[in-house]
Amino acid sequence: MLEKLGLFPAAASTHAGRVDALYLFLIGVSAFFAILIATLIVVFAFKYRRRSDDEQPKLIEGSLALELTWSIVPFGIAMLIFLWGAQLFVSLKTPPKNALDVFVVGRQWMWKVQHLEGRREIDELHVPVGRPVKLTLTSEDVIHSFFVPAFRIKQDAVPGRYTEEWFEATAVGSYHLFCSQYCGTEHSRMIGRVVVMEPADYQAWLSGDGRPAAGANAALATNAAAVSVATAGEGLFKDLGCATCHKSKPGALGPSLAGVFGSQVQLQSGASVAADESYLRESILNPDAKIVAGYQPVMPTFQGQVSEEDLLQLITYIKTLRSS
């Protein structure tokens, strides 16, 4: 309904309406204060306009009661807005456990999207309606930002680390996807669309019997459709020789990776670290950064040998390794 006024973008996520509500509340607060100040200025300016050149108004020193009022009341309102905004933010930072995982890699000047089942696309993101989707973002070069106005979400994709954002789409349709962090020459052409589909259509699309992905990069986008990310990761794991050292036999050069994801890893330094995606990523690219207790720093770096997509595949595979 708000969209029809031309002042609001489409609202197509569970989050969008909540952001709009806070926005409307803030517009109300702002309008109240702006009109209050403007009215007072106009009324005073008219009522107390200078009538003769030698007029001398009486001195008014000030008033502690007024100063306190107009400090404390705005502070109270500000705190209300702070808490409201913080609550929205916290929910944005806590994706539901059952969220669908999708990987997004930004590069100058395109978005590369990888679905767990193997389907890839460029500058497009297909998602099912009514299901939380969690995006794991990174970048191959400079900072980009994945912005979907209809979902009211945005997150920078930063080279060298993973960031996350999540949403649950509520309406089937096609929505703008913008890169909102300036990234060089074609920044304003690093755009695309998010296509929200009925779950059945999404399943069909995932298995590749839908229409082929649109756009100039259609061929690139569909060529690896068949292999799932974890399977691709398993292939890489073998090809790179990871299993030579990382095995669950006594005397192995590297720690076993079975069940490592999500566990607390005891380090040589005495500290311990939660094994999340960022830890696994760091251990592949910069193995000497955190040495596992009881092992020697003998692992070579894979910096430059694996692409961002390879890393995502390896990590996804490692996540599937359960302790036996």
């Binding site: 200025i41 306009r49 001398q56 933010f89 945005k154 960031t163």
Partner: protein, 532 residues
């Protein structure tokens, strides 16, 4: 009284380029930053012209990216930051406190030369290829991505930083040590309080941006890994360092303007300010809290969510001293004797625009909402309301207010009022539509955009042309007044303040006899002043 003043005491180019008179140095700054302002303004108009249509027609992507970068760099570092402190501050600080000059007159001249060298470096970068990193120089784009004149531009800003630091140092020492007899801290004009707070930020903040840009240069030139993750750096570290200065830099721009507005409101309402000490102390509170909120530029950068929560909270806190000022200015009008000369129109315009700028700051401080509007035109609109609607309106108001004192000439009254009105209307037409554009989702720094955003962009461009005219008008009639304007009396506005007690233009030594201060800064109501 002799006819000799600081302008006619000596002629010739040497007497200007080697002057150590703070008033002449103020004019040197005025001339140089005016050139920078119109250069930055030309870039702005080209940006608005390109955005008239959704497609790329006036310029291509690379040129567009250079235009908004150079608009930002020039306006922020070479116009807004020096604007009021280096011109009005330089001219007025000694005059308002009854001193003959600043504490270090030669250092003051050196500051101008340093500014000039920095500006020339940056202009060299601009005219030999340009820079396309955005004025924010975000890494790793600025260190490994951009293929433009990043280092010369950064060197220019680095050098210019020393000018800011030395000016701040000069003001602080002067205000501490050189006040006229009887001029206690709480008798100081509010402009002095604001300038003092600004100087503190100059000294504490500027070294950080200088070091940060030096690190960008080092990584770019020698590939030492500081910000680029491919060689072991951290790109978010740059943002922390950059905003640690660049957020307080916003207060460098707005605080002096607030000081000017406090002078204008009191003079044209003929009242001492409502809550003098609250306005004075709130300047210091803003300067202090302003150093603790930089992370609100980074809510979607990937910084820790806990850090974001704290920065959001502190950002709401910094809004309070600003609100206190607005309420106090408004209350000052109550039962005043209000006249509407051009400086007052700018001051009232400032209150209105700054109020909107401040209130929309709450939208951006609010975490859940910022995620949506961050890096959109909403942000562009917000900071232009603060920096142009606020800082620049205050600057123009101040220039109009002290012009008779500085030049000894009056400007045409009606024309100046019309110009103030044109600026106000043009400004709102330019920037208000951008709030809506931003909420609709148009990202900033886009030179092509989806068709549905065009109507609001056309409004904005139309407004920019009105605004451009509004800035040309004062340029014209102020220059005209230098030759043809009526002679200004010592105190044309019947203002209080020591600077109005000496002739217009003042003699080189400012005061023939050092003034002795016996009362508060603003004794407009004659009888009560005796009592105090």
């Amino acid at each position: 009284m002799s006819d000799t003043n600081y302008l006619n005491v000596d002629y010739g180019i040497r007497s200007w380029l080697l002057t150590v008179d703070h008033k002449r140095i103020a004019l040197l700054y005025l001339g140089s930053i005016t050139v920078m302002f119109f250069l930055g303004g030309v870039f702005a108009l080209m940006i608005r012209l390109e955005l008239l249509t959704p497609a790329a027609d006036v310029v291509q992507a690379d040129t567009y990216n250079k235009l908004f970068t150079m608009h930002g760099i020039i306006m922020v570092f070479f116009f807004l930051i020096p604007s009021i402190p280096a011109t009005l501050g330089n001219f007025l600080v000694p005059m308002m406190i009854g001193a003959r000059d600043l504490a270090f007159p030669r250092l003051n001249l050196a500051s101008w030369y340093i500014f000039l060298v920095g500006a020339l470096f940056t202009l060299w970068a601009v005219f030999t290829g340009g820079v396309d990193t955005g004025w924010t120089f975000y890494t790793p784009y600025s260190t490994v991505g951009a293929n433009t004149k990043v280092i010369p531009a950064a060197v220019g800003i680095f050098i210019n930083g020393f000018s800011s630091i030395l000016t701040g140092l000069n003001f602080i020492v002067t205000i501490h040590r050189m006040r006229a007899p009887g001029l206690t801290w709480f008798r100081l004009p509010l402009f002095i309080w604001a300038t003092y707070a600004t100087s503190v930020i100059f000294i504490l903040g500027t070294p950080v941006i200088a070091i940060t840009l030096a690190l960008v240069g080092v990584e770019r030139a020698f590939h030492i890994g500081i910000f680029d993750p491919a060689i072991g750096g951290d790109p978010i570290l740059f943002q922390h360092l950059f905003w640690f200065y660049s957020h307080p830099a916003v207060y460098i721009m707005i605080l002096p303007s607030m000081g000017v507005v406090s002078e204008l409101i009191t003079c044209f309402a003929r009242k001492s300010p409502f809550g003098y000490s609250f306005i004075a102390i709130s300047s210091l509170a803003i300067a202090f809290l302003g150093f603790l909120v930089w992370g609100h530029h980074m809510f979607v950068s990937g910084q820790s969510a806990y850090a974001s929560l704290i920065f959001s909270f502190l950002s709401f806190a910094v809004a309070i001293p600003s609100a206190v000022k607005v309420f106090n200015w408004t209350a000052t009008l109550y039962r005043g004797s209000i006249a509407f000369q051009a400086p007052m129109l700018y001051a009232l315009g400032f209150i209105g625009l700054f109020t909107i700028g401040g209130l929309t700051g709450l939208f951006l401080a609010s975490l859940g909402l910022d995620v949506h509007v961050h890096d959109t035109y909403f942000v562009v609109a917000h900071f232009h309301y603060i920096m142009v609607g606020g800082a620049l309106m205050g600057y123009l108001g101040g220039i109009h207010f002290w012009w008779p004192k500085i030049t000894g000439r009056m400007y045409p009254e009606t024309l100046s009022k019309i110009a103030a009105l044109v600026v106000f209307l043009g400004f709102n037409l330019t920037f208000f539509p951008q709030f809506i554009l931003g909420y609709l989702g148009m990202p900033r720094r886009y030179h092509v955009y989806p068709d549905e955003f065009q109507v609001l962009n056309v409004m904005s461009t139309a407004g920019a042309s009105v605004l451009g005219l509004g800035y040309l008008l004062p340029m014209g009639y102020l220059l005209w007044s230098l030759r043809y304007g009526a002679r200004a009396p010592a105190n044309p506005w019947q203002a209080t303040g020591l600077e109005w007690q000496t002739p217009s233009p003042p003699p080189t030594e400012n005061f023939v006899v050092t003034p002795i201060v016996t009362g508060p800064a603003y004794c407009y109501a004659g009888e009560e002043a005796e009592v105090v």
